[in-house]
């Protein structure tokens, strides 16, 4: 059977490679020092989706993301690897969303997309590490969920068989479609971009990404596939009260920059004499031994 697959993906600041310049002197985050990237586990999710597309002829893969207009890049990165379409939720009304408001927006968009067989996202995003959005989307859609998936083994007779990571081991579960799956980082890595697809889609943008003076602006009239879907709160018939900041039960009370309680430390070199005297000191003090 052909499958209608939606991939949930997020553009995130690359918090894994935070250097010393990540924080400004005033204690705020220096966003310019953190490049925006495709959330790593969402790439694992995309790979699972593309494999299903190959196994089930006639299937389609659509990228669903929410963020600033620049998050159109997430859709392009999907198209470069073999996705068919995408939707960017972008609106001031979505801003400041916690996981609950985010999942409301995504679930509402999935309803609008309609007839989705399988929703696949990364287990969690590296900027928050919460792992909440997948299960919350599933709950809001009234669907089953399989989290921490390592491989979608097969889809047959309306049921997905999935191997998933659990604490201390693995298990294989069978879940009826439609189902929401979140994919663990231990799953297969995503395939690289396909050069032909990069050529085809490199100018694909959401309307809000455009300045209007692009030398290739005429292409947008000739090639409708270069205009990516961009949806506002109103476009998906969402309740504004459940979106963004107003739809978020959690509030940030305060944020503090980390200040380590500095200890008086003894500094040594890596010389033989220094290392040996340290070992002897630790042994004499019965700290090791």
């Amino acid at each position: 059977m052909s499958l209608n697959i939606v991939v949930l993906a997020k553009q995130v600041p690359d918090t894994r490679n935070v250097g010393k310049d990540a924080m400004k002197a005033d204690g705020t985050i220096n966003r310019a020092a953190l490049p925006a990237i495709f959330n790593p586990e969402d790439l694992n999710a995309l790979e699972q989706a593309l494999r299903l597309k190959e196994q089930h002829p006639g299937s389609t893969v659509g990228m669903l993301t929410m963020g600033l207009p620049s998050a159109g890049e997430i859709i392009r990165q999907g198209l470069y690897r073999g996705a068919d379409t995408g939707w960017l939720l972008t609106d001031r009304g979505f801003a400041g969303a916690d996981t609950l408001a985010t999942s409301y927006a995504l679930a509402t968009a999935i309803k609008k997309i309609g007839n989705v067989d399988i929703v696949i996202g990364g287990r969690q995003a590296i900027d928050g590490d919460t792992a909440q959005v997948g299960p919350q989307v599933a709950q809001k859609l009234g669907l089953n969920q399989v989290t921490y998936a390592e491989e979608i083994l097969k889809i047959e007779n309306g049921k997905a068989t999935i191997r998933r990571h659990i604490d201390g081991g693995v298990e294989t579960v069978e879940a009826p479609l439609p189902v929401v799956v979140t994919v663990n980082g231990s799953a297969a890595p995503c395939r690289p971009c396909n050069a032909k697809l990069v050529m085809k889609y490199k100018y694909a943008t959401c309307p809000m990404e455009r300045k209007g003076d692009e030398p290739w602006a005429d292409l947008y009239n000739e090639r409708p596939y270069l205009t990516l879907n961009q949806w506002s709160v109103a476009d998906i018939d969402a309740d504004p009260a459940q979106c963004g900041m107003s739809g978020s039960p959690t509030k940030v009370k305060n944020v503090v920059n980390i200040v380590f309680q500095a200890k008086e430390s003894k500094t040594l070199t890596g010389s033989d004499a220094d290392v040996e005297s340290l070992v002897q000191e630790l042994l004499n003090d019965k700290i090791i031994g």
Binding site: V18, Q139, N254, T267, I288
Partner: protein
């Protein structure tokens, strides 16, 4: 009503250690708030086997849901147990382990009840909150404290309006202790079918392999941990040699795990294992707060780093400025020479 409730996770008929740690924390929060500590556990054939693993931590009322199909865990039945129980009991705080189960169940429950959930908290406290926008004052909220944004900041999260205030906490972050005060210790066995419709049992677990932990990193007295600065898989293997000599365990930062030098289950930090060793030897670890959150209680911290200004050096007792590749073999050599 208005109590603190802890979801207790099980493997077969054994209650998870993280749940007992949360019962201990939950007891303190409940006492501070002047309310009861409740607990809920769901499984198959657990009646008479789990109560004594839960009640001694100061539980006033324990709800035991025992029926076919509740073990192994699947999302829907456990979600409905909590959602329907919470509608009756209206707890103000719900705690669960930030385990695979807790992180599958917590968000599903929070979404059903439209209540806020904070993942992977490293501290939980009770305090007041003033909403600057609405000018409203709230007493006795749960402060859910966690590193955020790649560990560069620590955020305190509150849920002013919605109940329960939900939080997950990793194993080892809180310390378990039997309760010395007097708790009511009541146990009830609700009828599962009243909480869980038959349609919840649609996801089938076909096959399941759980192995006992391969190491005891969490309880190790000496931890030799490596980060990205170790430089290579070969150099990382030297840490195992040193750990073996010292009768310790090997830990790692996320960067070393991401580099593929060591298994994920050895990751120390907010999203990994929290350790409380006597000695922590940090090799080539710069010291992001998420990592430090998992090892800051170590007795003696030794940092080996080429960068004398690495953040971790600020909390270290000994700083060896040098490369891991060079220093670790020397530590092994001089330990062998001097320990006999």
């Amino acid at each position: 009503m208005n109590n603190v409730i802890v979801y207790c996770e099980i493997e077969g008929t054994t209650v998870a250690e993280v749940s007992q740690e949360l019962l201990t924390k939950g007891r303190k929060l409940a006492t501070e708030l002047g309310v009861d500590l409740d607990a809920v556990v769901a499984g198959t054939g657990i009646k008479g086997k789990v109560e004594e693993q839960i009640l001694p931590y100061g539980v006033d009322k324990l709800f035991v849901f025992d029926a076919e199909g509740l073990f192994p865990y699947t999302s829907a039945p456990h979600t409905d147990i909590l959602v329907n129980l919470f509608k009756e009991e209206n707890p103000q705080i719900c705690l669960m382990g930030a385990t695979v189960i807790g992180r599958d169940l917590g968000p599903r429950v929070s979404s059903s009840l439209t209540s806020g959930l904070t993942a992977d908290c490293t501290e939980l406290e009770i305090g007041d909150y003033d909403d600057v926008r609405t000018k409203q004052h709230y007493d006795n909220l749960l402060y859910q404290i966690r590193p955020a944004f790649g560990g560069n900041i620590v955020a305190t999260i509150v849920n002013p309006e919605h109940r329960p205030q939900m939080a997950t906490v990793r194993s080892g972050v809180m310390q378990k202790a039997l309760y010395e005060g007097k708790a009511k210790g009541e146990v009830v066995y609700p009828e599962v079918a009243k909480y869980v419709p038959e349609t919840d049992f649609v996801v089938k677990v076909l096959d399941r392999h759980v192995e006992a932990a391969k190491h005891n990193l969490k309880g190790a007295a000496i931890v030799v941990a490596g980060g990205y600065g170790v430089g290579s898989k070969e150099a990382f293997d030297q840490l195992f040699v040193l750990a073996k000599e010292l009768h310790g365990e090997v830990g790692a930062s996320r960067a070393a795990v991401d580099a593929g030098w060591v298994d994920h289950d050895r990751q120390v930090g907010q999203t990994g294992v929290t350790v409380h060793p006597k000695v922590y030897i940090a090799c080539g670890i710069s010291g992001q707060i998420q990592h430090i959150a998992g090892m800051q209680d170590a007795g003696i911290i030794i940092s080996i780093n080429t960068d004398p200004d690495a953040p971790i050096n600020k909390i270290a007792d000994y700083v060896i400025v040098g490369s891991v590749e060079e220093v670790v073999p020397k530590l092994i050599k001089y330990y062998k020479q001097n320990s006999k």
